[in-house]
Symmetry: C2
């Protein structure tokens, strides 16, 4: 059974919602260990016999992540990451500072050999992996090739695909489109062994079947994800404004209520739980800062899945294939 360390102190709603989510995951049969301030965690444990590993410090959102990881040896995210590095846990979940989680993963858990830059991979409700979604604001073309390898490993383990289709996010489908970054990455991806490269894809292909994995730099990926989230919200609000606010529609809406419920569920970002930091030698789930207990519980399930599919090992195999080994 995979064991997941949950950073109880990170996130806007820590520790209550984080501990609550960890408890839900524990009760669903997952092996979790909470990391943080014992006194803050205790009252939320609700009598459950979940192990707690103490950590006396917390890294706040406004701290410089690299410096904070160096200075605060006993920060909850650092202690949780050391549990993974030492093999006492298989994965870590944090809703705290993304930068701190990345720095802790890179310095404490360590990078996978051959990966120069760990990247954040996000799963879309359309069954796609998008990376990088924010760890590396600017990238070199060869790093986009690394993202392709890592994203394909995640798509293989999460969606059960044999040979996931990898697309390069661009402003047009034709080869030769884009900035210098995309032009060079297109050429490298076209000739990289072990990558099923399908060419350029565009923003609207997050909803098409052209690619299972979409690679881009972390700035563009972050904009893409937040735009998709914002648009999905907006469309639901427009629909509500037109359809639900008219009293004459109430009988029809009552009939459709279960269907609308499923619709909202599919689009709920919390159903996915978090993004994965790929390229480090352990499973790291970066949950949204505003995560509720539901999101945290789903993030733990995602970490368990990554650990059971040995995602870091799959990435090592992909890196080896890339090198022609």
């Amino acid at each position: 059974v995979s064991r997941i360390a949950v950073d109880a102190m990170g996130g806007d709603r820590a520790p209550a919602e984080i501990v609550g989510g960890a408890l839900d995951a524990f009760r669903a049969g997952h092996d979790v260990v909470l990391v943080g301030d014992m006194e803050a965690i205790g009252p939320h444990l609700d009598g459950a016999r979940v192990e707690v590993v103490p950590a006396t410090e917390v890294i706040h959102m406004d701290e410089d992540p690299g410096r904070a990881i160096r200075d605060k040896k006993d920060a909850s995210i650092s202690v949780a990451s050391r549990l993974v590095a030492s093999g006492e846990a298989d994965g870590v979940v944090s809703a705290g500072s993304t930068g701190a989680a990345i720095a802790a993963a890179a310095f404490i858990i360590g990078r996978v050999r051959g990966i120069t830059r760990p990247a954040i991979a996000s799963l879309l409700p359309t069954d796609k992996v998008v990376l990088d979604s924010g760890a590396n604001l600017t990238c070199r073309p060869d790093q986009l090739v690394e993202f392709a390898v890592m994203g394909a490993a995640l798509a293989t383990s999460h969606f059960g695909l044999d040979s996931p289709k990898v697309g390069l996010l661009n402003i047009g489908e034709e080869p030769g489109k884009g900035r210098e970054l995309e032009k060079a990455a297109f050429d490298m991806l076209s000739t990289s062994p072990g990558i099923h490269f399908v060419g350029n894809v565009e923003g609207h292909d997050i909803a098409s079947s052209r690619a299972d994995v979409i690679v881009t730099d972390g700035f563009t990926g972050n904009v893409l994800l937040k735009t998709a989230e914002g648009t999905a919200d907006m469309v639901q609000r427009i629909l509500t404004g037109i359809v639900a606010d008219d009293p004459a529609h109430q009988p029809a809406l009552a009939q459709l209520a279960p269907a609308f419920g499923r619709f909202r569920e599919i689009l709920d970002p919390e159903s996915i739980g978090g993004a994965q930091l790929l390229g480090v030698d352990g499973v790291v789930i970066i949950a949204h800062g505003s995560s509720s207990r539901t999101a945290v519980s789903n993030a733990v399930a995602m970490a368990v899945e990554g650990a059971e599919h040995k995602l870091p090992s799959k990435i090592k195999l992909g890196v080896a294939a890339l090198a022609g080994v």
Copy 2:
């Protein structure tokens, strides 16, 4: 009355849908002139007495735009742009090669003094202006300031706003976020006279009230717009799949049909007609390559609006304010 030159030969569905759209605009009272191959246009004119200015050449999607504009002096987009340059028309609408329309505008109509790079501004159904959405894949920080001036002019004339709020697209709200481009642009926008700068905005702010104008480089803007379009489509398809495909829902759906119709109308990209190329000394509407007659007709109406609000002059005033004149 503003006179709009319509490039009858550009677009996937040219000339039939383009001529049809121009006819619809003409019948709605707009003064249009069609530009292109007389023999190709004639059969679609439906007996209407719309003026046609002949152009013997066409620029295709796969041609190098700059070279095509230099070599094909009698291309429809060039002839249409010359009508604007000479004052015989007040604006041009094209659904053909975007690159060719930009090159024709820059070389034939000419840039507004003080604007180094014309930019494509797109209107969202949430009443926002986003620019650049594809003309300049990489930008300097001072060009983002120019975009702010141009986008504010469009928001003023299109939405009737006194002092449109300008946001800088970024990966977080806090100052100091982003790439070197955003960091430098943030500082310049903060101190530029005449710009109501509200700071960084994120992808999801296309649906919030934080900014009326969102500025970014053309690569990121293009990804943002296509992601929003793709997501809106996807959400509608998910909804249809869940709600509309169940026969038991039919009575309720029949009651809600007019409301769903309005919902789809709001999200229909064709209702907007096209994007505007700002920073040249005339009104230039770039319609989508797949534009139907409805889209073309709406694009003509948008060109008329821009011409009547003297958008290029408004941009000149913004540039002057920026220079402290």
